[in-house]
Amino acid sequence: TDSFDFSRYHTLNEIYSFQDMLVAENPKMVSKIVIGRSYEGRPLNVLKFSTGGTNRPAIWIDTGIHSREWVTQASGTWFAKKIVTDYGSDPALTAILDTMDIFLEIVTNPDGYYYTHNTNRMWRKTRKPNSGSSCVGVDPNRNWDAGFGGAGASSNPCSETYHGPSAHSESEVKSIVDFVKSHGNLKAFLSIHSYSQMLLYPYGYTRTVAKDQAELHAVAEKAITDLASLYGTRYRYGSIITTIYQASGGTIDWTYNQGIKYSYTFELRDTGRYGFILPANQIIPTAKETWLALMVIMDHTYKNLY
């Protein structure tokens, strides 16, 4: 993977091959878990970074749940290599991995990602047909059992924010739900989207203030400050509902309600005028600045295990 070109976008198969190569190169630290299958039967691969122990407290990172947001899967690939490169040389990451595990799902919506490469670059949702409608797919960030079906999601299968027929109806979502419940020791959950440069914490489906709001806000402030230190990319931060809009059935609302305190959603850059058609030459700068923020949250989690 040293010769893997992180500065360009890759197909689904290229990312799958990268994952297998990284595991083969680092058999003592990296393993691949298939937590389920997508609707079209593709494996939902999660890379596990562990230096030992069993069921250690862990951090979850996912990218690509909205398939068209290519800079997130590309950043996730870069994060995977960064973890194996920095372990043993970066004291902060080494300390984290000597105590905790990291789980990284790079292509959280593989059917959608494949579809963006081969049929429709604008595709965002899953690819499961909706009975009674000619429109396909569910917004996997509206399908979680947290305020499911409430305001801030659509009941129209043709909408980009369609919540689906029921909570966890999408296998891409249900597989993570089952993994989180079976693991039972996740302490941070970081779900990465693009674009609009925001770092968000619960809640999105209700105006109720999260009980850990003060701490989540302080950690977010530190995270976006470190992020901005590299290239000056400015982020806004706060709870979903106060910072952007009401969104029901969202990932981190569910994970927070499961007791995973450090639950955050990132909305990565577009500092220019590209939206999520971010030019490939911005992949590495985006990944590098985001990593600084991730390290703040992971370091805080490690130092404040609960």
């Binding site: 081969n118 005028r273 590209y274 058609i277």
Partner: protein
């Protein structure tokens, strides 16, 4: 493969809450087939929306009739996608092992 010739991405800047609500109403205009890249949040934050070619005129008429300011963030989406694809193809060619 679906193409997006003539699709534009408009960057809309609602001036106040009333205009924000008018932009929010556009989410329900299913016939326009609008794709909100950055949804309606607050007055200070712009809204980015992809507009298919067939509803460009009516969308712009709607905005202009309400005196809602907008700019064209992406003139022709397909041109940008073609550039992205070309970049991927050439990088993939470069990555192929030499004979």
């Amino acid at each position: 493969k679906e193409t997006f010739d003539g699709h534009q991405v408009l960057r809309i800047a609602p001036r106040d809450e009333a205009q924000l609500a008018l932009v929010k109403d556009m989410e329900d205009m299913m016939e326009f087939e609008l794709d909100f890249w950055k949804g309606v949040t607050e007055v200070a934050t712009h809204v980015d929306v992809r507009v298919p070619f067939h509803s460009l005129q009516s969308t712009k008429t709607y905005l202009e009739s309400q005196d809602i300011k907008y700019s064209i963030m992406i003139e022709d989406l397909q041109v940008m996608l073609d550039e992205e694809q070309e970049e991927m193809d050439s990088a993939a060619r470069d990555a192929e092992p030499r004979n």
